[in-house]
């Protein structure tokens, strides 16, 4: 069984230039924040926004480079989210390119389900974006999709 047979194709993605305000508005009724793929004009996957991405907003600088120096301690202290001054303007000043995670874990749509499952286990992820041969975003696959598929086969659903 291939990834494309069970992945979710009706998904929400954002552009590099989507603002924080737009993102929050489109997810305000979700009960928790999912993994949101970020794509460019050609639909190519260039990053993901997930719950940790929001912590970038609470930092006065881009953390990506500093995290690579373990002695910078950047990733070790939780962000001080209760004591941040956020101006209203940040809703349209902050865009996805500022906060997205460019460490992309993705899977090809033709890949086998076992491979998708192993990849998610290895990276400790519950869902990852699916791309076609041109690296264009075509869907998302989650551990739940795979579990569901197995339950269906066993007649539980």
């Amino acid at each position: 069984m291939q990834v494309k047979n069970i992945m979710q194709t009706n998904i929400r993605s954002v552009k590099k230039g989507t603002t924080l305000g737009q993102l929050l508005a489109s997810f305000k009724s979700f009960h928790s924040f999912p993994v949101v793929p970020v794509i460019d004009q050609e639909q190519v996957l260039i990053g993901t926004v997930h719950i940790r991405s929001f912590f970038e907003i609470f930092q006065p600088y881009n953390q990506e480079l500093l995290i690579r120096n373990p002695l910078s301690m950047v990733s070790r202290e939780p962000a001080d989210i209760f004591n941040i001054e956020i101006e209203e303007g940040m809703g349209f000043l902050v865009i996805m390119a500022d906060i997205m995670d460019t460490k992309i874990v993705k899977i090809d749509q033709d890949a086998d389900l076992h491979k998708a499952y192993d990849l998610m286990q290895l990276h400790g992820k519950l869902a990852i974006p699916v791309v076609d041969e041109n690296k264009k975003l075509v869907g998302i696959i989650s551990v739940f999709d795979i579990v569901m598929k197995i339950f269906k086969e066993k007649g539980l659903v």
């Binding site: 600088y61 480079l65 690579r68 192993d118 290895l122």
Partner: protein, 388 residues
């Protein structure tokens, strides 16, 4: 006291002292160092000789982890991302601190092999201390962006400069009577050997990584390969730092998902760093403190001049605005972890001079950690990065 009990005590008191340091807005690394001095042989004596004896092993492990993590910066992607300005300034402020500190110490008749080591250590800065100030004042702006980029990269350049300097210094020190050609040969062997070991093991790690299926396997594999790299470097007298850094550079450029190796390592590395810094404090020879006067002062002053001159030149070439040219070097003065690690390596390599280097750097680290943040704050003020 046995080693295991000792490590347990160090971890718990290290955690407490780190939390206390946070309260009084001091970087945790300074707190670990001071804790080491307090519980070390010169004060309370809780850390026994047997603990100090294993500190060489712990520091080699800690330093190889640090160098491996910092080595992930050496990808074409990173270099494209940080931009011309940060590249020029970070390279030149590191090289500037190195050359000018070496020149300064030579003027005071310090032997070349020692001056080279001091100069290389001068290149390092302390990201944690600098970030702390930026966070505390919620500083934001273009100047902060450049400062953070430079701070992120300069330890990488510092580690390279140090490894090269150490190779040359060692060759000079061990072959005082030999020709210059022989000295250069030895240094080239050490550096070339590190690249070879790092390159091969980096290739192996990136390939094995494709077959791993769980975080635990990934962690075991990453640590295993780093240990083999470090062990081989020690055995053949290559550079532990260069080997680990080059290995990371190879992995980063060969494997699209290379971040998995670094991310998994960062889940377990901190306890090792904590023990490493506490033991570094404990192995400080307090009775040498009286002898470091002139060297310490010359080192501190020329490091500042070097950082300033290098930053100015880099900012000039990259056509940065005048705030960056004038004030960025003030933001780079704090010094801590990486510098201490380098000094510990020097201590192992040169029996007498090494002790002086280590004691001087440990003492100046504490001074830099106390006065450095004031200069960072001054730089942020002067460049209007502190709003409200």
């Amino acid at each position: 006291m046995n080693v295991i009990l000792g490590i347990g005590i160090i971890l718990i008191f290290g955690l407490l002292s780190g939390k206390f340091a946070e309260k009084i807005k001091t970087p945790a690394i300074t707190a670990y160092l001071l804790l080491g001095i307090i519980i070390g042989p010169f004060a309370l004596g809780i850390i026994s000789e047997s603990m100090i004896r294993i500190s060489g092993t712990i520091s080699n492990i800690a330093l190889s982890f640090i160098a491996f993590s910092i080595g992930q910066n050496f990808s074409s992607k990173t270099f494209r991302r940080v931009g011309k300005q940060v590249m020029w300034i970070s390279v030149l402020e590191a090289v500037g601190a190195w050359l000018i500190t070496v020149a300064g110490l030579l003027c005071f008749k310090i032997p070349l092999y020692m001056s080279l080591i001091f100069g290389a250590i001068a290149a390092a800065s302390a990201p944690a201390a600098i970030i702390m100030v930026v966070r505390e004042y919620k500083a934001r702006g273009k100047f902060v962006d450049v400062l953070m980029g430079v701070v992120a990269l300069d330890d990488a350049w510092g580690l390279i400069i140090f490894s090269l300097s150490l190779a040359i210094s060692k060759a000079m020190y061990l072959n005082l009577s030999s020709s210059m050609g022989h000295v250069i040969m030895e240094a080239v062997m050490e550096i070339g050997g590190s690249f070879l070991v790092g390159g091969i093991l980096g290739f192996i790690l990136s390939k094995i990584g494709l077959y791993l299926k769980s975080q635990t396997d990934l962690l075991i594999c990453t640590i295993g390969i780093i240990f083999i790299a470090t062990g081989l470097s020690l055995y053949f007298h290559f550079s532990v730092l260069l080997t680990a850094m080059f290995m990371a550079a190879v992995v980063v450029n060969l494997n699209n998902e290379s971040f998995k190796f670094f991310d998994v390592l960062s889940t377990i590395d901190w306890p090792i760093y904590l023990v490493f810094f506490v033991l570094a404090g404990a192995s400080l020879e307090m009775d040498l403190l009286g002898q470091i006067g002139v060297i310490g002062i010359v080192y501190m002053i020329f490091r500042v001049i070097g950082k300033f001159a290098g930053t100015y030149l880099g900012a000039y070439i990259a056509k940065s605005d005048k705030d960056v040219k004038k004030y960025l070097s003030l933001g780079l003065l704090p010094q801590a972890g990486v510098a201490l690690g380098m000094a510990l390596i020097a201590k192992e390599q040169f029996p007498e001079a090494g002790n002086i280097i280590f004691t001087t750097v440990a003492a100046t680290t504490i001074i830099y950690e106390i006065i450095g943040p004031f200069f960072v704050k001054l730089a942020l003020h002067k460049t209007n990065q502190i709003h409200n």
